[in-house]
Symmetry: C2
Subunit: 161 residues, 2 copies
């Protein structure tokens, strides 16, 4: 199957948001997506670069994407975080996800990043097995924690901070 990988442009953000919605549904969180196309354009292209996106294109349609940005490991130094790796359902199993993943690792290698990190759902065994086969480690003993905007405001108010 012929497809090409390239860096996303602002004009791709409509399709990128569609892919983000598709992933949220796959992760059983269809209503979790609050960002808009305008947010993606502003945050990715207009007010400094919060993230980079590599897209997979086939017949002028976007069929997949990888979105990533820098992080900082206090053990290893400058690192990357792969926030989303998404391939449209009907195009899975054709090597596109693998190619996107590899392109992020190449970007990390070429730009001197010491590590790439991401998160994966524990029931997504196919993904976990793939990642381990590439040399990644998947940790059982770490838990991800979040506090969102509303809870932050509540906490600061409650504690008079």
């Amino acid at each position: 199957m012929s497809y090409k990988l390239r860096n996303a442009t602002p004009g791709d953000m409509i399709s990128v948001l569609d892919l983000i919605h598709e992933l949220a549904e796959f992760e059983n969180q269809p209503n979790a997506v609050e960002i808009t196309v305008n947010d993606l354009i502003k945050d990715g292209y207009e007010e400094g670069t919060s993230f980079r996106v590599i897209v997979a294109e086939k017949n002028n349609d976007l069929v997949g994407m990888a979105l990533f940005y820098p992080r900082y490991s206090t053990w290893k130094g400058r690192s990357l975080h792969l926030e989303d790796l998404i391939v449209k359902k009907e195009f899975r199993g054709k090597g596109i996800g693998n190619a996107l993943y590899t392109s992020v690792l190449k970007y990390a290698d070429q730009n001197g990043y010491k590590r790439v990190a991401w998160e994966v759902l524990d029931w997504n065994k196919v993904a976990i097995d793939f990642y381990i086969s590439t040399g990644a480690r998947v940790f059982d003993d770490w838990r991800v924690a979040h506090i969102d905007e509303k809870a932050i405001k509540n906490y600061l108010k409650k504690t008079n901070s």
Copy 2:
């Protein structure tokens, strides 16, 4: 107990690295720390800002710190990651960790970040209970994955990428 919180300066990075080492020992990974004081100064202050550090100071000694940086949530938008929250062993239980955590939440609130995220070890029940009491969510079904520099190079070589 009197202590003060302030933004770290390059001159604090020796003490900050000591705290990073102390956390690595607490997490049973005493040999995992590869970065140096020079890396911290370069990455935090000289080549753009990869991270921010708030330190807790008592009698001119640093007794704790919070290190954090921007991330990007494709669900919520601009967010922060709290990479390390560390208080020296002999100063724990005195509210310093709580004050550092609160200062990061205040920074997020004042700067329009939609979420603060971090990772916590599943056996660290005291920390997990504290985070939940503040309104944070700790997720059981996500796993953290890493691929480090050496494994990236191996993978790219093996796959001729």
